[in-house]
Amino acid sequence: MAFDVFPDIGKPIRTSTNELVDFLVVNYGDGFEAFSNSILFLLVRLERVLRSADPVVILVCVGLITFAASRRWGLSVAMVAAMWFIGALGLWEQAMQTVAILLVAVLISVVIGVPLGIISARSNRFRSLLNPVLDLMQTIPSFVYLIPAAMLFGLGKVPAILATIIYAAPPLIRLTDLGIRYVDEEVVEASRAFGATRWQILKGVQIPLALPSIMQGINQTMMMALAMVVIASMIGARGVGETVLLGLQRNDAGQGLLGGLAIVALAVVFDRITQSAGQRMQAHRKVTG
């Protein structure tokens, strides 16, 4: 053919990406490992606490946390029952591994996501740059970045956490942005008029008033992080995802179902706790004059 409609740009992208990953592995391997270790340090400790603690203690804690968040005894009992159900399925150990990964991933998402959301709410330009990145993070299949992540950080929990963050952080960033933008303009203007600094406005007015929205974002992030546990288990993150994966590999539908039920139960527990915490934060809005 004399004229080619599609010049081959796939090949150079492919080779240069591979070269970049190789380059990073060779030259910055130590750096990535140090980063990986710092996440692992946190994760391993958390996991050890969760797994070594008597399940009864954990169950009581879940009940207390639910009550603190919702002030409803009924809900607390239901959440304890959901956790007990996971244990009764024989997946307590795995569930604790998953909870540890989940909490670390959500913690890092909050640490990164809330500030990004705040910057995005303040600058339209930053938002227009950030938005396509967030779209990409949510749509690109996780295996695409799992391959280089596994090469850089090794197989195991750290790339799983990173993949979870990439997938789960965007809703938190978006909802933080939205929450801050939707704070009543006149209230912000009032605090400016009284001479508040930008930090005082942010801390005293914008974040508190955006908190319900931010809590909603944390809730969404948790739900999406749970959706990642099966994929995370594929690169060696263990946990309940592994149970599902084993069921798939062994053609054992029953085992797959057990893992699925445990994931759903975890999702319900995390969802209800964060939802009711978010609702209690807007207690002042419920009363109408």
Partner: protein, 421 residues
């Protein structure tokens, strides 16, 4: 020098306001600027002087730029051109840090929709300005409690704003502004969102507080009745340009243009104008006790009435007829001071509404006295009538047309005028 000097403030909204400034300075109007450049002219060359301790009302319809103007005072909005001096200090020249300090200590603000923080209790809302200043909790809450009590909200300290009615919420807003002890308070349509009854209570409370605290208040409103009721001075703004600045009687009696004239037409003038602003000097003052001489004075001046004054103190009115009758009588003539009729008098501070019955009953111009009993002037029913007649009915025809044309160009106006009436 006035406390606040607004000097040639021009504000253009749009993507490149500085570039379009020259066009406005060369006289391009609001519509043309919008059509040619897509920029909105918010304020055009506005200059004002606001004296210490007065309530200065800036009045205009929606879109007139009044809210934009008041936000220049504490630089919530930066002008495209011009300066604002407070105590001779140029607010435009302040750095961020100085500006924060200025807002904390010199000017506080009350907002139309209150601007209260829904997540803070009444007490913490009122203490907000002090909290921003970094004042310790115990001290700022003590101050806040004092002001909550002053505005009549004691007992509501721990409620959230959403638990209060609109009027109560705005009292919280007022207390918050008072708590910082700034000498200037900006009020942006502060009472516009309130029910009419609550609004007039709030107006009374504001005037009362002002008499006690002597703060300088810049008050924005679209309601002329409100402006006339509380304002020491009123500035009327139309399409970003000042139409007139003056005292309430000046605005009512000498409207500067058709726009102001259309505004003042529906005002209840009898309630706003005081006797002092429309009275005339008495035609004949009689300053002695001699009846015959008084009668001679009246005949010589061809006056039917005389106003008897003893040592500057007003004693009463005599008619020529009654005097002639009394002089013609046999026997001892009584003292003129005792003879004069002092039954119908109006006071200088009375509104025309209050003075109306006396004016209509008497068949002579009613004497006007001030507090210490001195005769200040007289008020005839004719003067009363012409003062109560809106200006455009005096000069019929053309002004009516102009006012109508004006109203069609500004749809919001009909509503506002209705509200003002």
């Amino acid at each position: 020098m006035a406390l606040i000097e607004v000097q040639n403030i021009t504000k253009i909204f749009g993507s490149a306001p500085k570039k379009e400034l020259a066009k406005v300075k060369n006289g391009m109007g609001k519509e043309q600027l919008l059509a040619e450049t897509g920029h909105t002219l918010g304020l055009n060359d506005v200059s004002l002087s606001i004296e210490k301790g007065e309530i200065f009302v800036i009045m205009g319809l929606s879109g007139s730029g009044k809210s934009t103007l008041i936000r220049h005072f504490n630089r919530l909005i930066d002008p495209t051109d011009g300066h604002i001096l407070v105590d001779g200090m140029d607010v435009m020249g302040l750095s961020n840090k100085e500006l924060e300090d200025f807002r904390r200590h010199r000017m506080s603000m009350v907002f139309q929709r209150f601007g209260l923080m829904p997540h803070r209790t009444v007490l913490k809302n009122v203490a907000y300005g002090l909290e921003v200043q970094g004042i310790a909790r115990a001290e700022r809450e003590a101050t806040a409690r004092k002001w909550i009590e002053t505005v009549g909200l004691a007992g509501f300290e721990d409620q959230y704003p959403s638990q209060l009615s609109g009027g109560m919420q705005q009292r919280v807003g007022l207390a918050r502004a008072l708590a910082t002890d700034s000498d200037i308070i900006l009020m942006d349509e502060a009472f516009s969102a309130l029910d009419p009854l609550i609004r007039s209570q709030m107006q009374d409370q504001l005037v009362e507080l002002h008499e006690k605290l002597h703060k300088t208040i810049v008050f924005i409103t679209h309601d002329l009745d409100e402006a006339l009721r509380i304002g020491d001075k009123i500035a009327i703004l139309k399409d970003g340009v000042l139409s007139q600045v003056g005292t309430p009687p000046e605005i009512l009696l000498e409207p500067a243009d058709d726009y102001v004239r259309a505004f003042v037409r529906d005002v209840n003038r009898a309630r706003v104008l005081t006797v002092g602003t429309v009275m005339q000097p008495p035609a004949l003052r009689i300053t002695h006790d001699n009846m015959e001489k008084a009668l001679a004075d009246m005949r010589r001046n061809d006056e039917d009435f005389g106003y008897v004054v003893e040592d500057k103190e007003f004693r009463g009115v005599v008619t020529q007829e009654a005097l002639a009758e009394e002089v013609a009588k046999q026997g001892e003539t009584p003292s003129l001071y005792a003879f004069a009729d002092d039954s119908s008098v109006v006071e200088l501070e009375n509104t025309l509404e209050e003075a109306l019955p006396a004016t209509l009953e008497a068949d002579y111009p009613v004497p006007v006295v001030c507090e210490d009993g001195r005769l200040m002037g007289v008020l005839s029913s004719e003067e009363m009538g012409s003062a109560l007649t809106p200006p455009d009915e005096l000069e019929n025809g053309e002004t009516e047309d102009a006012a109508n044309k004006d109203a069609s160009g500004e749809p919001a106006k009909a509503d506002v005028l209705k509200e003002a009436s």
